[in-house]
């Protein structure tokens, strides 16, 4: 997993609550056996009309969201299905950071596994970012800050273990396998 330390990028604003993973990556794209190539299907039914043309009014299709790598949304982003394909699609499309009022538990876990940083901020600060003139943000995971060029500054909280894993790009299976003796001992006790 590629480490995450600091990222500056363009913002896409999705002022909605409860965006579910069925929207992020609709089920018809879950039949593939690969981990890659989901970006073109991201938000498929919201991004494209039935002819495959871009819907001009959808948030990601607005000119100011072109090339966005930071997505900002309301509460409970990524609720619903456990499909990791949602995270794969967001990353593959180009997103590195999700900033939201809150996210669903499984979504957060999946994001962590794929180096997609999830930052949660209070609704007031989410509102400030959504309505700020700056279209670019810097997210610094070492300092735990979100800033823009106009002087906006938000400090965010993140679990220290999750932060370390992201900063160092740690692979979780390798971490667990450091405890293989404890696993073996547990199995011996259980038998």
């Amino acid at each position: 997993m590629d480490p995450f330390t600091k990222h500056t990028g363009t913002l896409a604003v999705m002022d909605r609550a409860d965006v579910d993973t069925d929207q992020i990556i609709p089920k018809e794209f879950l039949k593939r056996i690969e981990r890659t190539g989901y970006g073109r299907f991201l938000f498929n039914h919201w991004r494209f009309d039935e002819n495959g043309d871009l819907k001009a009014d959808f948030e990601l299709n607005r000119p100011e969201a072109a090339g966005a790598s930071i997505l900002i949304a309301g509460r409970n982003f990524g609720c619903g299905s456990s499909r990791e394909h949602a995270t794969w699609a967001l990353r593959d499309y180009g997103f590195r950071v999700i900033i939201a009022e809150s996210v669903a538990d499984i979504f957060r876990e999946n994001a962590d596994q794929n180096g997609l940083l999830v930052v949660t901020l209070p609704s007031e600060q989410i509102g400030q970012i959504m309505h700020a003139p700056a279209q670019s943000l810097t997210v610094d995971l070492e300092a735990c800050t979100v800033t823009d060029s106009a002087g906006f500054l938000a400090q965010f909280a993140i679990d220290s273990f999750r932060r370390d894993c992201l900063l160092q790009g740690l692979e979780r299976i390798g971490l667990t396998l450091q405890h293989v003796a404890a696993i073996q001992a547990f199995e011996d006790r259980s038998n």
Partner: protein
């Protein structure tokens, strides 16, 4: 004196492999359920890293999400779906994992077959690459859905790192009214606490109305915990649990059963233990529910009307409601009983067990499906299907004009050919009414099996005769 513990505490402690400040606890997994849609990339990851499956004997696989529910002797026409199923077969064969394949009568929806085969047992930790894994918590297990990276993690290590979640007690006091099912109770709970209402928490359901439910009703309740944001829902084991598990093929041997049962009863949350939050709901206040929007918290009593966004104060909620009503093609103030249906789907890991089919069949018997409605019943497993056929339920459905299908997830998520056409309106016993869930542009209303069946007859939302 020992510190009072919740059921979650007890299960957590018994599965603790390694604990260290500043890192998540490492928990041992007793049962890892696998299906075709979320496992291929996990097995591929193992292959690339040169890692074996640590405990293939603790894994069980089936094929449920993609599989057509029509004639099983026919080839699967969808090349990509067929490939995904073949990849699962290859992976389980390579690693020596048991599979209930489509030619096995025990095949079915993973959350239906686990309980009915006795694989799901109290006090265990169960994971699966599927958010409705919360279902299995009905037995007093800690069961939760995981993503594909964690499927790979569990395959490689049989362990899962977790920070202990908070707990919320949802207590359903009193007695449910006649005609109010487990589905109605839990939809009303989600309507009350919201789709993010239990995020970061494990729900423990308590109270007289929960105790009064059958094991299958409890499975329905725990199944939809995830729709309130809780990764897991749990109900402590009692005599209902024990009687359900007696003589299940993968349960404890008969000579070890009583000892196991005593252990299961001891899992219950201690009387003095406390939850981080408690929500109390009077079960007697709950009516049969119908969802009207595009998430499972957008529900109301069947006697009600489509709500009006103008009555909602919060701008975020008002806009969400407006968007939902536009998508659903509904006008505020319309009585649910006047909403015309095109389709009815009885099935899914929420409501495709034998009791669900009995409740639906009772509402159908001797009547016929409304001419404007196309209705189908998809049993949750091959075993449920056979039992329903033996009990005459299948004949009841067929004679009434329902299609009677083979087991699978089917139109709950429409990964197989069972989908809604754009604009079609469906009364569905499934768990998610998200946009496009049952087919692009399809409009899903979540209901109980009895309401779905009665609505298929009436052509609009209706309760079974004798209920009203």
């Amino acid at each position: 004196m020992t510190v009072p513990r919740t059921m979650l505490d007890k299960i957590w402690e018994r599965h603790l492999v390694h604990a260290e400040d500043g890192t998540p606890d490492l928990l041992y997994v007793d049962l890892h359920l696998l299906h075709e849609v979320t496992s291929a990339q996990a097995f591929e990851g193992l292959r690339l890293a040169g890692r074996p499956v640590r405990r293939p004997d603790l894994c069980v696989a089936t094929i449920d999400h993609n599989i057509p529910t029509t004639d099983r002797s026919l080839p699967v026409l969808d090349d990509i779906a067929r490939r995904q199923m073949e990849v699962l077969r290859d992976n389980v064969a390579e690693h020596g994992i048991r599979i209930f394949d489509i030619d096995d009568e025990r095949q079915g929806i993973v959350h239906v077959i686990g309980p009915e085969l006795g694989l799901t047992q109290p006090g265990t930790i169960i994971v699966c690459g599927d958010s409705h894994t919360s279902t299995h918590g009905a037995f007093g297990a800690l069961a939760f859905g995981i993503g594909t990276s964690e499927v790979e993690h569990v395959l490689a290590t049989q362990c899962i790192p977790r920070t202990k979640p908070r707990t919320v007690e949802i207590r359903l006091d009193g007695e449910a009214r006649p005609g109010v099912s487990a589905k109605d109770l839990v939809l009303a709970v989600i309507g009350e606490i919201g789709v993010g209402g239990a995020t970061g928490h494990v729900i423990e359901y308590t109270g007289a109305a929960i105790r009064a439910l059958s094991m299958e009703g409890r499975l329905t309740v725990c199944n939809i915990s995830i729709e309130a944001g809780a990764r897991a829902g749990m109900i402590s084991p009692d005599e209902v649990t024990i009687e359900y598990l007696r003589d299940r093929p993968f349960g404890p041997d008969s000579d070890a059963f009583e000892e196991a049962a005593a252990r299961w009863l001891a899992l219950a949350t201690d009387a003095e233990a406390t939850f981080d939050r408690t929500v109390v709901i009077d079960a007697a206040s709950i009516e049969p529910q119908v969802s009207w929007g595009t998430n499972p918290a957008m529900v109301g009593p069947i006697s009600g009307v489509v709500p009006d966004p103008a009555d909602v104060e919060s701008q975020v909620d008002r806009q969400a409601m407006e968007r939902a009503l536009t998508y659903m093609g509904l006008t505020p103030g319309t009585p649910f009983r006047d909403i015309k249906l095109d389709r009815v789907f009885i099935g899914s890991c929420t409501n495709a067990r034998i009791e669900d089919l009995r409740a639906a069949a009772a509402a159908v018997r001797g009547r016929t499906v409304h001419p404007d409605v196309s209705a189908m019943v998809v049993p949750g497993s091959g075993l449920v299907k056979r039992q329903a056929e033996e009990e005459g339920l299948a004949a009841t459905f067929r004679e009434a004009g329902f299609e009677w299908r083979e087991a699978g997830c089917s139109m709950c998520l429409g990964m197989n050919p069972d989908v809604l056409a754009s604009g079609e309106r469906c009364a569905s016993t499934s768990n998610r009414n998200f946009e496009g869930r049952q087919g692009t542009g399809g409009r899903t209303h979540l209901v109980s099996p009895a309401i779905a069946a009665a609505s298929a007859i009436a052509g609009t939302f209706a309760e079974p005769e004798g209920n009203t």
